[in-house]
């Protein structure tokens, strides 16, 4: 827990100073930007690069930017694309090799970056997405064979979280215990206050963050700032677009593998995989081998994959999960239930992106509620007891 005493207040100039300081320290500073009608990760050099005065309206199957009647820099809910692609790029060269007289020689690939070179400083990552990073830390790092490129990018990443002040219709971070304010896992935590002055309450969450705050030379936060920040969070907490009851959800989904609701959602699901692309915790990948025409050099790439593709589960002449129903069930059960057995937490952070970006507006909170309202456990329990 951060202590009230060491909270400071930054004005806009202070925020710019923060950006400049991080850039001077060698970070590629990234933050939310408006591009092509959406808030997406981009390079930030000045506070003007941030989505000043922009909010968003998100519902299942719908995303629109809207003009706010104030100058909030972080007045949207969740970025359209999560920050997953910064620390875990969609394409990563694992190794390149050449045929030699003795066979082949191989060189490990260096980490790749889409938005510039690491180390990255991310200004404005939401609490839900911060939890997603923590989940990826466990999934990609705390393993027998860790993802070394992720680990390298992650170690140096400077994370500045901003509390949510205007959640959207698809948000349910409160149900998942991941927001609207982050409690840990950040270097700095900001809450935007739009009172008489445009201020940012700032707290350090690490020694690195503490050092940066000290160098900014900002004024200590006033009692009123702290109260105002708490009120922002309290208001957001009460304005969640959705809720999800996660009580015994592992048993619920394990036991209801044959529930008719799966057929229902399958009649709507296009198996397009959008949800897996925008989900900040999805991590499935595949491998691609490329060679030169002569076959004497080769590259082995790791690329994002989606369990919704028809050959994701290919085996012995066919796919294990050939129906859309089985693939949807796999995704949802993995995200909300099996993940708990595999990694100790839920895989869902309640960011709502899978609702927003589903072309047909499938809402997993609604799917869970439907099964919970009318459970149909299979005769032999699914081992979820």
């Amino acid at each position: 827990m951060t202590d009230t005493e060491s909270a400071v207040a930054l004005d806009l100039a202070g925020l710019q100073a923060l950006v400049d300081l991080l850039a001077a320290e060698g970070y590629t500073v990234l933050g939310p930007t408006v591009r092509a009608g959406a808030v997406v990760p981009g390079r930030v050099t000045t506070v003007d690069d941030l989505p000043r005065g922009w909010g968003d309206t998100q519902e299942p199957g719908s995303y629109r930017l809207r003009r706010r009647d104030d100058e909030a820099l972080f007045g949207y809910a969740a970025d359209a694309i999560s920050w997953k692609s910064v620390l875990f790029p969609s394409r990563e060269l694992m190794w390149s090799g050449t045929r030699t007289a003795d066979g082949f020689s191989i060189t490990a690939g260096e980490g790749s970056g889409g938005l510039g070179d690491p180390p990255y400083a991310i200004l404005g990552i939401r609490a839900c997405d911060l939890h997603a990073v923590a989940i990826h830390d466990r999934v990609l790092q705390e393993r027998a064979h860790p993802d070394v490129h992720y680990a390298a990018r992650r170690k140096d990443a400077f994370l500045v979280t901003v509390s949510c002040s205007d959640p959207s219709g698809t948000c349910f971070c409160v149900s998942m215990g991941t927001g609207p304010r982050a409690e840990s896992g950040f270097d700095l935590a900001l809450t935007e206050l739009l009172g008489d002055e445009h201020t940012f309450l700032a707290r350090a969450g690490s020694e690195r963050g503490r050092a940066v705050l000290d160098r900014l030379g900002s004024r200590p936060a006033a009692e009123g700032d702290v109260v105002a920040a708490d009120e922002v969070v309290e208001r957001s907490t009460r304005r969640m677009g959705r809720t999800m009851d996660t009580t015994d959800i592992r048993t619920l989904l394990y036991d209801n593998a044959d529930h008719p609701r799966w057929d229902d959602v399958a009649s709507r699901c296009l198996s397009c995989g959008n949800c897996t692309m925008v989900c900040p915790t999805c991590f499935c990948t595949s491998a691609e081998d490329h060679t030169s025409l002569a076959g004497d050099t080769a590259e082995h790439w790791r690329v994002w994959d989606s369990c919704f593709t028809s050959d994701f589960s290919y085996l012995h002449g066919g796919s294990v999960r050939s129906s859309t129903k089985s693939r949807y069930r796999q995704w949802m059960t993995h995200k909300l239930a099996s993940w708990i057995d595999q990694f100790g937490t839920s895989g869902c952070v309640g960011c709502g992106r899978c609702l927003t970006w589903c072309p047909v507006g499938i809402d997993i909170t609604e799917e869970v509620a439907a099964i919970r309202a009318d459970p149909r456990p299979t005769a032999e329990p699914g081992g979820g007891g």
Binding site: G103, F104, A108, V139, D305, L315, G383
Partner: protein
């Protein structure tokens, strides 16, 4: 960047790079299956446990998970029995003596053969499933007196699809060891049994409560064999299956090999029947 083994970061990156192994033998087993014998270029053998697999790579073509079919007591020689079922396995089957393949591994949880000590061992193989079980049988035979009755029960498509003929003959000469073979159908010159491998289980005499059963073959076959074994009184916790799903990384990161909560490359491929029976009963899981 060059691999510097002294630096942990690069050493970790190195762990996922394929090691070069030279093909020293390519023996044809059946019309679509060969056994490759490989030796590492760098001299260090590949110590493994029976039931583990490697990600075997044909340079520039791709890599696939292949069970190790060799003798765990001889880590200097890596043996893989490969069936031609697609682009990568076709390239592997076509590898010639002197060719160099890439190897990552060994990966996975093996049979745990030593858990059978003091009791009977029933090995039930279907088709290419005999490959990972060969390593287990070799381990048992090497310490034969530590185990009770041993049954190697093997079902194949036809007599032309039988693997490891010489091994089967040798194992049959071991004390208190039954080797029984059955095929789905045969030419009229075949003097042996025709039918399903479950019939061999039914006909075998073993002390069910003190038996460790190791089963590998098509999943449907393993379900029926598992049912046959438990009907005989072998506890489901003492029936071990080697399961298979699509694998892209072999190290628990790509997410493909999930059987609900299990990642087969890490939690398996060997899992006990009581741990997976619910999952195997769910269609398209």
């Amino acid at each position: 960047m060059p691999v510097d083994v002294a630096d942990p970061a690069t050493a970790a990156a190195d762990a996922l790079l394929p090691r070069p192994f030279r093909v020293v033998a390519n023996r044809r087993e059946t019309s679509d299956t060969v056994t490759l014998e490989l030796e590492p270029l760098d001299g260090d053998g590949l110590a493994f446990a029976a039931g583990q697999f490697t990600m075997l790579q044909a340079f520039g073509v791709g890599e696939v998970p292949i069970s190790i079919s060799g003798d765990p007591a001889r880590p200097g020689l890596l043996v893989h029995t490969v069936r031609d079922v697609g682009g990568v396995t076709r390239a592997l089957c076509a590898a010639e003596v002197g060719d160099v393949l890439g190897v990552r591994g060994p990966y996975g949880r093996g049979w745990g053969v030593s858990d059978a000590r003091g009791g009977d061992v029933v090995v039930v193989a279907g088709g290419i499933g005999l490959a990972p079980l060969r390593a287990a049988v070799l381990e048992v035979v090497r310490a034969r007196s530590g185990f009770g009755r041993v049954h190697v029960l093997y079902g194949a498509r036809t007599e032309d699809d039988l693997l490891f003929g010489r091994d089967l003959e040798e194992w049959a000469t071991e004390p208190d060891t039954e080797v029984a073979v059955i095929v789905d159908r045969a030419a009229t010159s075949w003097p042996g049994r025709v039918g399903l491998v479950t019939e061999l289980v039914r006909a075998a005499a073993f002390d069910a409560p003190r038996t460790l059963a190791l089963v590998c073959g098509p999943e449907v076959m393993m379900r029926f064999v598992g049912a046959e074994l438990t009907a005989r009184g072998v506890p489901a916790s003492q029936v071990r299956l080697s399961l298979e799903r699509n694998m892209r990384c072999g190290v628990g990161l790509c997410g493909h090999c999930q059987l609900r909560e299990y990642l087969l490359c890490v939690d398996g491929p060997v899992l006990s029947l009581d741990a997976v029976r619910p999952q195997l009963g769910i269609r398209e899981l």
